[in-house]
Symmetry: C2
Subunit: 206 residues, 2 copies
Amino acid sequence: MENPDTPAKSGYHHGNLKEALIDAADAIIREKGVEGFSLREAARRAGVSIGAPAHHFGSATGLLTEVALLGYDSLGAALNAVTTSDDAGADLQRLALAYVRFALAYPGRFRLMFRPDLVNRDDPRYAQASRQALSDFAKTCMRRDPTADPMAQIFIVWSSIHGIASLVLDGKAKYLFDGVTADDFAAEILPKLLATAWPFGGNDTA
Amino acid sequence: MENPDTPAKSGYHHGNLKEALIDAADAIIREKGVEGFSLREAARRAGVSIGAPAHHFGSATGLLTEVALLGYDSLGAALNAVTTSDDAGADLQRLALAYVRFALAYPGRFRLMFRPDLVNRDDPRYAQASRQALSDFAKTCMRRDPTADPMAQIFIVWSSIHGIASLVLDGKAKYLFDGVTADDFAAEILPKLLATAWPFGGNDTA
DNA sequence: ATCAAAATCTGAACAACGCTAAGATGGCAC
DNA sequence: GTGCCATCTTAGCGTTGTTCAGATTTTGAT
């Protein structure tokens, strides 16, 4: 349940409250979504009083920012685990699939990561984590079409993938593909969609 | 400020509280965003006690659903106002531009429209409004490539546009196009982007 | 080793929120 | 006129984030 290297709680002082609160917040968001989160419940789960988190994070935003950073790290790891090949277009398809599957596997984290009202964007680690998570993406985009304007290409491709993830997560896909669940979509419909209708899958570099 | 055809408030009874509350909610969301909304403030602005909205809308979700419907109507109107031509690809570009500009002009409405936790999706008017808003879109997609699978094509194109709008609205564009404001993006960068890097602008039907 | 200083956590308070239920008010059909 | 019913008020409950004085423990300097 907990890291074995925790100093454990020695009565009054918790030991590593900061990590415990981040874990608790992440768990709440996983179970009940971003809107189900409350600072008080995170404190409750960490076995600490309601005023304790303020010392470590200042406000709820501070704690949620940490969870968002964790989210970007895990997204980056998921994209980094995608196998690469000579075919940049095929790689881009796999990355897109991984992106959407991440969103569906961690809907709470994913939503939080794109909620400017809940995270502190002035934290320099935020921009860093965001950029890092998409680095594989950017590289594969450039590999697919080295002649294109880098920022333009990355933005357009990222938008397409992010739009797919957002719409599916918000339940809009079932309006078009009537009644299909998000999991079915990710497992069956989406791969076909990416292989046929998605314009970034083709190997343009010949 | 108010519709001239309001029965006005006759002391105890408001006259048309329902509309007044919807207007108030829409105004709050315009001014302070979705998160800045509260049922109590909407009641306050309508000049009515805090328990009054419950009678008309049941809960906050009920009221917000009305605002979301209003949002879909206005989005549909914005897309419907786009001039059409023989070139379906060019039309699609204009529709995309209108979609993103709507999101930037009415960020509160736009975000609310895609917040499943704040609107009642079981309301049959929701699916109806959603479909209606995108009808021009769907038609133009089919006109652009009549051979493609309708649902697949519409979903992919919509995703692309929705992703652009979402990322810009969430402030992600300024990470790629350093420091540019959302308005500058919509006015200058986006049109060029749609004309060059966007894969759905070309006239594939020859 | 001692003891002050800093870090950490408690507990209570405050204002605001959504929701509910009991009662007051007034329009409207009969 | 009278009674019904939609409408609105008011009070209350449980919840939330934030703040702050004080209790407790660790740390570091002497």
